[in-house]
Subunit: 499 residues, 2 copies
């Protein structure tokens, strides 16, 4: 499968003499584990976006800060590109290796250095798994809020690099909102601290700039995350609708009432049927759409909010509103949602997961647009989304073995993202740009804005050695891609008025 794959790295990559590099590394860092045989490199040729594959030149697995520092100094000196990765669960090819670069695997930095219940923070190494932080904090009644679907496997370093979200980020924020401090190494091996133990930090907000920068500005060596008290109770309501638009109005109604649910998720008929077949969550398979609304907090507040949300849902046209009657049913309701991607995968040999964000009010129009594009290109699209955030995950179903389907999937995927930009949204919510959406960045930003990104990148990494070819396209790429720059909706999407 080769969907959307673009083999060109922007600009010429230097050809590195592998044997000379290996020798230099072994001399400089004798105790560093280095993989260089093809069979050892194979498992590292892709991340969670398996459609993109490249064999790295070398893989290194450091265990100590000094090893990373020396390695970076050497790469900086010799002009060798470096791609950092944690567990490799990313969905946009952000950790895709370079054939002429080193893949720096930070997985062995997996120690929890401190859990501080008074200060409500945890200080951890970058290779610690997201869920492991919450597990370590649990004895104190605390947890780390951002919960990407991959939280069992993904590492906090990768979460910071991609500014990961999750089903609870409407209420609890993205990774950037749950960080206090990040320690990094620059490509020159300098150790910097971004942020502070206090809630604000003077000077420019480099912590926010760094979060989500996809490994292009520095290598993360330590992360201090905020911990929150675990809510006393969480209840989930399931509402079913005969019309997708009504579900969209219900989302607006809940938020307009000043209620901030712990999670607010929507699935359309194709997605919910797939999930029901797979998980038997108890979803109404004849509904056009369902909403899952979780309310968490203290008992009395949650009870009150459940009543208010149920009223709003009915007013918006819900034909049925069910409160999960116990923890087991609540877990089932969520299991259906959390397994929606693999469930949809059972309907089709291949699917392509998109990650656009739109202003919430544009939900009905964008859904109509997606339906029309699906009909036009004769492909099915299942819609699963973080409705509260306006973060959509359309899943484009196709069969790569059918001639033309892959290309049609690629085309419709690009059009959906351009539609998101045209209504004032963006090409990614929580999966990042990585390698996958680098061309769409040309539609999102203008020439001056992309130049500014490069200038900021150069402030951290003047030689451009950290994860080159990801996240920020070159101006040359944009010229070749010939993007229609539908900047923040100012230039209309050609077909926007149709929807």
């Amino acid at each position: 499968m080769n969907i959307l794959y673009d083999a060109r790295v922007d600009g010429p990559l230097p050809v590195v003499d592998k044997q000379a590099l290996l020798l230099a590394l072994r001399t400089a860092v004798p105790d560093l584990e280095i993989l260089h045989h093809a069979e050892d490199l194979k498992p590292y040729e892709c991340d969670g976006l398996s459609a993109y594959r490249t064999m790295p030149l070398l893989v290194v697995l450091p265990e100590r800060l000094e090893q990373v520092q020396t390695l970076l100094g050497l790469c900086h000196q010799h002009g060798v590109p470096v791609v950092a990765r944690g567990a490799g669960t990313g969905l946009s090819g952000g950790a895709l290796p370079l054939s002429q670069g080193i893949l720096l695997v930070m997985a062995r930095f997996n120690r929890i250095l401190e859990v501080n219940p008074q200060g409500r923070f945890a200080r951890v190494q970058p290779g610690v798994r997201n869920l492991a932080i919450s597990q370590a904090a649990a004895p104190h009644g605390l947890y780390y809020a951002p919960d990407p679907s991959s939280q069992i496997a993904c590492t906090i370093g990768g979460n910071v690099a991609e500014n990961a979200g999750g089903v609870h980020c409407l209420k609890y924020g993205l990774t950037v909102h749950n960080l206090l401090k990040v320690e990094i190494l620059t490509i020159e091996g300098e150790r910097l601290i971004l942020g502070s133990d206090a809630l604000d930090s003077p000077g420019f907000d480099l912590l926010a700039l760094f979060t989500g920068s996809e490994g292009m500005l520095g290598i993360i060596t330590e992360v201090t995350v905020k911990l929150l008290p675990r809510p006393q109770v969480a209840r989930v309501l399931l509402a079913s609708f005969d019309r997708v638009e009504d579900a969209g109005r219900a989302v607006a109604g809940i938020l307009d009432a000043g209620i901030i649910p712990g999670g607010l998720e929507m699935m359309d008929n194709l997605a919910l049927r797939a999930a029901e077949d797979f998980i038997h969550a108890g979803y109404p398979v004849d509904a056009a759409a369902i909403l899952l609304c979780e309310l968490d907090g203290v008992e009395a507040d949650v009870r009150e909010d459940c009543d208010r949300v149920a009223t709003v849902l009915r007013q918006a046209g819900a034909r049925e509103v069910r409160l999960a009657c116990d923890e087991a049913e609540r877990a089932r309701f969520w299991a259906g949602r959390k397994n929606a991607f693999p469930a949809v995968g059972r309907l089709s040999p291949d699917y392509y997961c998109m990650d656009g964000t739109i202003p919430r009010r544009e939900l009905p129009r964008v859904l109509r647009g997606i339906a029309e594009l699906a009909a036009e290109y004769r492909l099915r699209v299942a819609n699963v989304f973080h409705a509260g955030d306006g973060n959509m995950h359309p899943l484009i179903l196709f069969d790569a073995n059918q001639p033309g389907e892959l290309e049609r999937a690629e085309t419709i995927g690009g059009k959906i993202l351009e539609l998101c930009v045209a209504v004032g949204g963006s090409i990614t919510g929580e999966h990042g740009v990585g390698r996958e959406k680098i061309n769409q960045m040309c539609a999102q930003f203008n020439r001056d804005e992309i130049s500014l990104f490069h200038a900021v990148k150069a402030a951290f990494d003047p030689k451009g050695l950290l994860n080159p070819g990801k996240n920020i396209p070159t101006l040359q790429r944009c010229a070749e891609f010939g993007a229609l720059h539908v900047h923040h909706g100012q230039l209309p999407f050609p077909d926007l008025e149709r929807f």
Copy 2:
């Protein structure tokens, strides 16, 4: 008064030929209002930090974007520094003019361009006053959350430049958390959009980087802010304590219970007595400290939370807990707090307001430290703070006419900020660095970090023409200042163990 004033601008400023510049400006932008007589310039010689004064070379009062664009192009071409300002209410000298620079007053950009109740945002020009946004949104039941004390007068452009806070930022966040999008002009006159109408934006987070950058990266020309539904009810509890430490523990207790108050403020005995004398708010004048805790939301939630908070307060040792019995009493409780600064001003000919942030858990230690420093330097210090955020505003009382008091106030102020840094906090919470705290930045950051700030600044403004000499010190200044670099508490404050 000359407290903490440091007349040196970092690096040599070019000497600008005022008459030639005036002529060039009048030719390029014939309809631009320009002030150049000493008597016209006088009102602009300082901002809210009146201890720092400089007469600007010229003041310009543009009304249209194109005027600003042409002006900036001309300044860029001729190497003339530009300082932007809104209402000039800032408390750290961020809008202090330069004797060889243009003061760009954006106050006439005062139109509210759009209030969108469906999208829950308002699009406004930078000279719109903070409170005017909430007033325009009020008919839709919406408001703009950040509420600095100066909200009647301060402009949204200045709020963005300083990342302003307010008494409600514990729950509703700083300015950066309430923005969707900012349009700026670079010093070269390029128009850029940072952020998007959706909740996330791909690429580096330049919106967060820009917010709080104190006019050093670009000129704000339009701001899109988020609007929130106004809470149905708000109640405030007043708790009095015989020991300041108990009040500190109560703050931790409330937050540990998972309650996020709309506001959570502390005042010590000196501050609350001053406020009571001035406002007659009904504060217990014999208490060592009081806490004001506001709870907002829907009726039933707030009632429940009030009960829970009252329990926590009593457990922490509050000798009395009072719920404001009506709106009038609630307004009185807050009026005392909001007028604490002028109230303290009645106790002393001069006072100096600090703005340090510390990890909340360090509150008791830092309060002990401040008390000991006050005794040592024979000055009174009143403490007023956003306790929930760990943002302290110690007010140092002195009389500039008494020989030596000003110097002692200056010394103790510096020591308090260094103490904040030593316990892991920072030298500013919401007032910014500006001109005032530029030396303390040398204590907050190391050489590599300050170099990185300069590199980021250069990415936006290579010639360094935007607000030079504010926010980020030169390395030379730090060398001359001879700062003890107490970086993130790693190097101990010399006297830290005392407290």
